[in-house]
């Protein structure tokens, strides 16, 4: 502990201590030479077997004020700090192929290379990680980047205490960025709530009204538990009620988003089936496996382009369409063609094909799941307010589903192949008489439906396992959506999928996921009893 730091207390909770050390750091110029003894002792303690020893070491390092401490702590947090087993030398190791490139942690001098076995990692656990993070976060409060400062303030909100509130109050005076100022204001208002002075409390309550941060809500609940003053209580109750109203509203919006996003996945999975099952009436049990092929196409492309996974993902959309579509046409030409008009045999044969495809994938790619990476532009979330955030990958898939649907609709309504498909579906004999090559159209239709299944697979690779069982999970849902929406109607599939998704998500909080699924099934059975041809029955001739 540097002698210049007046806040010495026996080591307690890491975060608490980290705060103290931050104050110390602020008082002691960071660039100055700190306590050499503390730094060295800290380095020694990092070699402790137990985590409490390491925690003490980390504290000493952070307190030491030594400029090297920050780099060492960051390397420790990133898991790149090692001891060389033989010499005990502390190094930062960078993986380089099968060996590690070493840099001496103390002198920053290159220290050669080593095999993994010659190194022993300085391990940390969640508690140390939190400690290091909060120490680094507190350093970040004075970072020149307002975004970093905002994150640091938000990180501190959940562990506020008297000292940190005092510190944040001081910081607010110097702060220029308005978002950081707002966040700091929240912290200060929470401090006022705890002050016990009704005037200050009332002022803080008025300003916190409508603040959805969970910290504020918890603070209000705590205030209602402890506060005696009736006017403050009344105001706090009103503020809490208004906050909870807004939270409920956000919750509603969130559930709706969840429902639409689940619905979009259902629509994507089902819309290819709406073509194969809906238009040419093939009960294709291998539909799920065509989705799986699309997902594996994404995996293969990412393996081929390991440095640009985002590009690989975009490329895999057309690639998956071609692969799955090609396999679809192959299935049609070799098996289904011979079985038109015999649904039971088609069902059995395609079920067999689905098993063959699954086992083929198991043999080629191993039965283990394959890891498909998510590009950075599809990760994370868009924060609308503290309780409502929309995940980017789901938003992307929602947009992708809309795009696929629009594209398919256009193909069916405006293109010449779409015209032929509809002509064959409506009246095969007449279409043939008009010069449409019905057999070719059948194959192309099946290929189109299969290709779209492949594109769905690309989207699913971002949400779930890419493994041999991927398809099985979606086949039943797909059939459900198509039957519910009305066989052969694209709009029906869209509406059906979205309805089922939203209904499922609104039920889930009440009933749990298992019962929600059962209830949806029961509902569909009852619905089909009433309206056997679904939401949008096919107009005109029912059978072709």
């Amino acid at each position: 502990m540097p002698a210049t730091c007046p806040f010495f207390q026996p080591p307690g909770v890491v975060s608490h201590l980290a705060l103290l050390l931050l104050i110390c750091l602020l008082l002691v110029p960071v660039s100055g030479r700190g306590d050499e003894g503390g730094f060295d002792q800290g380095i020694d303690l990092l070699a402790s077997r137990d985590f409490s020893g390491k925690a003490a070491g980390i504290d000493l390092l952070a307190e030491s004020g030594d400029a090297r401490a920050k780099t060492i702590l960051e390397a420790l947090l990133a898991g790149r700090l090692f001891h060389v087993k033989k010499s005990g030398r502390l190094v930062v190791a960078e993986k380089n192929g099968r060996t590690y490139l070493l840099t001496d942690a103390l002198t920053s001098a290159p220290a050669g290379t080593a095999k993994k076995r010659a190194l022993k990692k300085v391990t940390i656990n969640n508690r140390l990680r939190t400690g290091i993070k909060s120490a680094l976060a507190r350093l970040a409060l004075r970072d020149p980047d307002p975004g970093v400062r905002l994150a640091a303030v938000n990180a501190m909100l959940s562990t506020l205490n008297q000292e940190s509130i005092g510190l944040l109050t001081r910081l607010r005076k110097e702060e220029k960025d308005s978002r950081v100022r707002d966040a700091l204001a929240t912290a200060i208002d929470i401090g006022r709530l705890r002050s016990g002075d009704p005037a200050l409390q009332s002022k803080a309550l008025a300003r916190l009204d409508g603040n959805l941060d969970p910290v504020v809500r918890n603070e209000l609940i705590r205030l209602l538990d402890t506060e005696k003053d009736e006017t403050v209580r009344r105001q706090a109750r009103a503020t809490l009620a208004s906050i909870e109203r807004r939270i409920a509203l956000s919750g509603l919006a969130e559930t709706l988003f969840f429902g639409l996003s689940m619905g979009s996945v259902l629509v994507l999975a089902a819309i290819g089936l709406a073509i194969t099952f809906g238009v040419i009436g093939v009960i294709n049990m291998a539909h799920g496996e065509l989705i799986m092929l699309g997902a594996y196409t994404t995996y293969v492309l990412q393996q081929l382009l390991p440095h640009s996974i985002g590009l690989a993902l975009l490329l895999s959309v057309p690639a998956a369409f071609l692969v799955a579509g090609g396999v679809g046409i192959l299935i049609e030409k070799t098996v289904i063609r011979f079985l038109y008009g015999r649904p039971l045999e088609t069902l059995l044969a395609t079920f067999g094909i689905s098993l063959v495809l699954q086992q083929a994938v198991r043999t080629i790619f191993s039965p283990l799941n394959r890891s498909v990476a998510t590009p950075a532009w599809m990760s994370g979330m868009i924060q609308i307010n503290p309780v409502l955030s929309l995940t980017v990958n789901r938003l992307t898939i929602l947009a992708f589903a809309a795009l696929v649907f629009a594209g398919l609709l256009w193909t069916m309504k405006k293109s010449s192949i779409g015209l032929q498909v509809r002509a064959v579906a409506q009246n095969r004999a007449m279409a043939r008489a008009m010069g449409v090559r019905a057999a070719r159209v059948d194959a192309l239709t099946f290929g189109l439906g299969s290709g779209i299944a492949g594109m769905a697979g690309v989207a699913l690779s971002q949400l779930t396992n890419v493994g041999p069982n991927l398809g099985q999970a979606y086949i039943i849902d797909s059939f459900m959506v198509v039957v519910f929406g009305g066989v052969g109607n694209l709009w029906g599939t869209l509406l059906g999928g979205l309805t089922l998704g939203v209904a499922n998500k609104f039920m889930e909080p009440w009933t749990g996921a298992v019962l929600a699924k059962i209830l949806i099934l029961v509902f569909i059975i009852l619905f089909i009893q009433k309206r056997p041809s679904g939401l949008f029955p096919r107009k005109g001739r029912a059978e072709v």
């Binding site: 985590f51 898991g79 076995r117 391990t123 940390i124 656990n125 969640n126 508690r127 990680r129 939190t130 969970p214 910290v215 809500r217 918890n218 705590r222 969130e254 969840f258 689940m262 011979f338 079985l339 015999r342 059995l348 044969a349 067999g352 098993l355 063959v356 198991r362 191993s366 039965p367 283990l368 799941n369 394959r370 890891s371 498909v372 990476a373 998510t374 994370g380 979330m381 309780v387 955030s389 995940t391 980017v392 990958n393 789901r394 949400l463 779930t464 396992n465 890419v466 041999p468 069982n469 099985q472 999970a473 499922n504 998500k505 889930e508 909080p509 749990g512 996921a513 298992v514 699924k517």
Partner: protein, 429 residues
């Protein structure tokens, strides 16, 4: 045309049957391997088949057993529970195997249990399970709940100060029983009802949005919250992906999983998961010579130095070595003699200690807690000071508190009620 599709089906069935045939004559000791090589469970069980082949291969290089070579008989029960029973019967009656190593899910074990008891053969079961069972013919080399779930909860409670608990699981027997035990345990430790949230999802659940949002809401109440996950297999990937996307990192709400190991992680991008936990009795990252040798042997055997090892593999390693030692001790492969000889047998485990077969047919294990790293491995952050003895009957469930299992003479009972002094077979009720 009808014949065509029938022929297709028949061909498929034949294909499935043929893959299971691996026979050879001669004076060998046959060892049955009963793991699914196709269907849903192939993802986990194929590795165990390979592990057994490697262990048998190594034993043969050492000169076999009792002067005879070992011969592996591999069958494929295809993730089909009734087929497990049929294949087990085939192994015992037709192939006359000396012992069977196999099963993964509890339901497959329950399916073969009557077969092993009827034909009096031996099964080594390598996966962590819900307990509440002890059969004369089964050796449980995986963890019982007190060797995995309870120490993990202790760790979260004592080391991380967790006050609020989400028990999330897949809807079947293992998570339901484990969560029942954990709920009773937490309540005994003074955790109130409102601080426990229990959630079940169907197999292969893929849309985790609202459940993760609910967990987030549950965890924002100002108390340290953790998720205890008994979510099974395939559902984990979308679950962890959703956690990552909704910004739930390990320092906010840690998730401790009982079914996620190195193998499951090899199919996930683990960067958003760093710091989430798993409780096992073995991790590939254990730094002991015996483990490094095992990993090298595994890489050499599979000719792939990226293959990972995991906890059930270690269980097979222990179980197989115990069986070998018991056969040597008994001087015969006769199941009855081996059953008697194996109790008390001690073999090295891979984490630098020893595993002993206890009279209740469970083994002693250390409990390790690991944190997920960005390379798909676990960093061991905590371990029990000594070995934990597997408890067949949980001390925290009202029905099984009074039960013990002890297969030594004269008690020889898997379900002995110490209060009434009655023995009621091997399974519960």
């Amino acid at each position: 045309m009808k014949t065509r599709s029938a022929a297709l089906l028949l061909a498929l069935l034949l294909l499935a049957a043929v893959t299971g045939q691996a026979r050879a004559a001669g004076d060998t000791i046959k060892v049955g391997i009963l793991h699914s090589l196709s269907g849903t469970m192939a993802i986990s069980e194929t590795t165990l088949k390979d592990t057994m082949l490697m262990l048998i291969d190594e034993q043969n290089k050492k000169g076999g057993l009792l002067g005879r070579k070992l011969e592996a008989v591999v069958v494929d029960p295809a993730s089909n529970w009734p087929l497990f029973a049929e294949k087990a019967r085939e192994l015992i009656e037709k192939d006359h195997v000396a012992a069977v190593f196999g099963c993964w899910t509890s339901v497959s074990r329950k399916s073969v249990l009557p077969v092993f008891e009827e034909l009096d053969s031996l099964l080594f079961y390598p996966v962590q399970y819900e307990g509440e069972e002890s059969s004369k013919n089964v050796f449980y080399t995986g963890a019982a709940p007190n060797q995995q779930a309870i120490p993990a909860v202790d760790y979260l409670m004592n080391e991380m100060g967790v006050k609020r608990w989400v028990l999330a699981g897949t809807d079947y027997v293992y998570p339901r029983t484990t969560n029942k035990i954990l709920e009773a345990y937490l309540k005994e430790k003074g955790v109130s009802d409102e601080d426990i949230m229990i959630n079940y999802t169907p197999f292969g659940h893929s849309d985790w949005q609202s459940i993760v949002a609910e967990i987030k809401k549950f965890g924002s109440a100002g108390k340290k919250t953790a998720v205890v996950s008994t979510i099974n297999g395939d559902a984990n990937v979308p679950f962890y992906k959703e956690l990552g996307n909704q910004g739930i990192t390990a320092d906010k709400i840690p998730v401790v999983a009982f079914s996620v190991g190195e193998e499951e992680l090899s199919g996930i991008d683990t960067r958003p998961l760093v710091g989430h936990l798993a409780a096992w009795n073995y991790f590939m990252s254990v730094d002991t010579d015996i483990n490094n040798d095992f990993i090298d042997a595994w890489h050499a055997f599979t000719r792939d130095d990226k293959r990972v090892t995991n906890d059930p593999m270690e269980a097979h390693f222990i179980g197989f070595n115990m069986w070998v030692k018991a056969v040597e001790k008994a001087g015969t492969t006769d199941p009855d003699a081996v059953q008697k000889a194996i109790i008390g047998v001690t073999v090295p485990n891979l984490s630098g200690g020893y595993a002993a077969m206890m009279p209740n047919h469970h083994i002693t294990k250390p409990v390790l807690i690991g944190e997920i790293q960005d390379d798909g491995q676990f960093e061991i952050v905590w371990r029990t000071p000594g070995m934990v003895v597997g408890d067949a009957w949980s001390d925290y469930l009202p029905g099984s508190r009074d039960l013990i299992a002890d297969w030594r003479e004269p008690l020889a009972c898997g379900n002995f009620n110490v209060r009434t002094g009655k023995c009621s077979g091997s399974a519960a009720k």
